[in-house]
């Protein structure tokens, strides 16, 4: 592990920013530095999986990563021009529910992995999801909810995508405390999770798979 990834792994913001500034001063390729920072995030994710870190540490690591990415963004453009996002994800909390903590964490974690996120916000009506899929053509749609009543709403979105002929074009993941208490067979999505880190890994896996198929 390099200095940058090591600093992220121990949540040392000053250490991360210093490593980035040193890298910039040494004219290092900023994309390589981003990759190294992402490796640090992976280490944080592993610590989270092992129960050594908790959600706040995961969020903190993402915040630190974003600070580093903020310094590196202009350099990336200088070195490589405009860099394409590796995939596109549509996120939203379903109708009747305005809880957005989980959705926001997933959003920041996806962005740290170079994935573009279109966030439709909270209390999003079914047809708004359908229209957004038509408009943005995401790889994945992520539905978030906390309330028990929202489970039916999640299924309604999947049904509406089917009716609109869009179901095969996107993978659907549902997340939030409530989906962990529901039998998997009662959910129409491709994947359900209560773990932000695991959900992000699943989404990234789908996007990588799709990229290989396209290639």
């Amino acid at each position: 592990m390099g200095k940058l990834s090591e600093a992220i792994a121990v949540l040392d913001k000053q250490g991360v920013l210093q490593a980035v500034e040193e890298g910039i001063a040494a004219n290092l390729d900023p994309l390589l530095m981003i990759d190294e920072a992402r490796f640090g995030l992976e280490v944080v994710g592993e610590k989270f999986d092992r129960g050594e870190y908790f959600l706040m540490e995961l969020m903190r690591a993402a915040q630190i990563f974003q600070s580093a990415a903020g310094l590196l963004a202009p350099k990336i453009e200088e070195f490589h021009g405009k860099v394409q996002a590796k995939g596109k994800v549509l996120l939203g909390t379903v109708a009747g529910d305005i809880h957005d903590l989980g959705k926001n964490i997933v959003k920041i974690l996806l962005e740290c992995r170079g994935i573009e996120v279109i966030d439709l916000g909270v209390d999003v009506r079914t047809q708004k999801f359908v229209k957004a899929v038509e408009e943005y053509q995401p790889d994945v749609i992520g539905l978030s909810a906390l309330l028990t009543a929202s489970v039916a709403e999640m299924n309604k979105v999947v049904e509406a995508l089917e009716q609109a002929g869009l179901r095969k074009a996107v993978k659907v993941i549902v997340g939030g405390g409530i989906v962990g208490e529901i039998q998997r067979s009662a959910l129409k999505a491709d994947h359900a999770t209560i773990d932000a880190n695991e959900g992000v890994r699943t989404i990234e896996g789908w996007i990588d798979e799709r990229a290989i198929q396209v290639a």
């Binding site: 305005i98 957005d100 529901i182």
Partner: protein, 386 residues
């Protein structure tokens, strides 16, 4: 075997870590009462007479106590009653239940810009913050005064009458919020996370600053609700167990000291404390085991949402009463047989020797199947006899 104790006596035994005639059962019923009683969320929050009437229509799902929905009185345990709802909550749709309407919920947003300024100038800096553009200045002074001084007494009298009529004690008389939960509401979880790592001394300072405000206001509410006269009104409902995802280290440094201090303040002032701590506190149980240190026996309940109840009994048994935790989804998507089996397991794991109240995970959802709640009440009678 029929019940031989009153509801209040049964609960009292559990608080004191003694066996009663059977395990008390007390699902927390909040939005489901107005839903089944066919009143709107708006009425629930503004018409205590209608709320109490709706509650009386739901006696078949009420266990050994009733939540008087203090949240409707002080809106999530915030300080003032007349204006905070406008600042902190999403009140856009009051008439309907999801999906056509919302339950009142907090929007994540940074309301506190500067901790020092709040501590220097008080909460009026937030309440009258024009940047929020929430219509707070449109309310007239009569409205503020009515909700501050008259309405709480009207509210308390409605519930006092309910207790007299039904013999069902209140779950609480006042409601207090942990400083870290308040910071989550006022700063947003992302900003609070950043603060904890970057300006920990300021987080500590404002947590300390919050304590007096919050403890005194909760005790005032409990007195208005009839503490000492109305059974259950002497209980402070202490929410919410901190922001989700705290590590044990953050819990110990930023949550625990202020939680213990507030619990001590309440108990030493003669109140009981129902700690309604959401999230999974299994990693924190060894710390929580000290919650009753230095306090008289029988004054604390630990109400857990996702915490492992078997482990909670192992660590806290004989120290404090524990409460919990039938999963929310089971009420909505499970069958009475599944609820029965879950309750049987909880009772087997937690009830031995007393000090356990069979309860819900946080609260029973508004869309729960009533037959599932009735199955829970029956399970306490079937499996909980001592």
């Amino acid at each position: 075997m029929s019940d031989t104790l009153t509801r209040f006596e049964r609960l009292e035994r559990a608080w004191r870590l003694e066996e009663a005639d059977r395990v008390p059962v007390a699902p927390i019923l909040c939005y489901i009462i107005p839903y089944l009683g066919r009143i709107s969320i708006w009425d629930m929050f503004t018409r205590p007479d209608l709320l109490v009437q709706a509650t009386k229509q739901c006696l078949d799902i009420i266990g050994d106590n009733i939540d008087p929905n203090i949240t409707t009185l002080n809106h999530l345990g915030l300080f003032g009653r007349a204006g905070w709802d406008q600042v902190t909550l999403d009140w856009r749709i009051w008439e309907h239940y999801p999906p056509d309407g919302n339950l009142p919920s907090l929007y994540e947003k940074t309301i506190i810009d500067d901790y020092d300024d709040v501590m220097r100038r008080g909460f009026s800096t937030i309440l009258f913050n024009k940047k929020l553009n929430n219509g707070i200045h449109a309310r007239n002074i009569d409205d503020f005064l009515y909700y501050q001084f008259e309405y709480p007494m009207i509210y308390a009298n409605a519930w006092r009458k309910f207790v007299e009529d039904t013999g069902i004690p209140l779950l609480m008389g006042g409601r207090a919020c942990h400083p870290l939960d308040m910071l989550q509401y006022y700063r947003g979880i992302s900003q609070l996370t950043s603060d904890i790592f970057e300006v920990p001394e300021k987080v500590h300072a404002i947590c300390e600053w919050f304590i007096d405000y919050e403890t005194k206001r909760a005790m005032d509410d409990a007195m208005i609700m009839g503490a000492g006269e109305v059974p259950g009104a002497e209980i402070i409902f202490f929410v919410n167990g901190g922001p989700p995802g705290m590590s044990p280290g953050i819990f110990k440094e930023f949550f625990w000291p202020y939680a213990k201090k507030m619990v001590d303040n309440f108990v030493k002032s003669g109140f009981k404390v129902w700690n309604h701590w959401d999230g999974d506190h299994t990693p924190n149980l060894e710390t929580i085991a000290n919650i009753a240190d230095g306090l008289p026996k029988g004054r604390i309940v630990m109400d857990f949402e996702k915490t492992d109840m078997k482990r909670a009994k192992e660590v806290l048994g004989g120290k404090v009463c524990i409460y919990g935790n039938v999963p929310s989804a089971l009420y909505c998507y499970g069958s009475p047989e599944e609820v029965d089996a879950y309750c049987k397991k909880l009772i087997a794991e937690c009830a031995a020797g007393g000090g356990y109240i069979l309860g819900s995970e946080c609260e029973v959802p508004w869309d729960a199947r009533p037959e599932n709640i009735r199955a829970m009440l029956k399970a306490a009678e079937k499996y909980g006899v001592y």
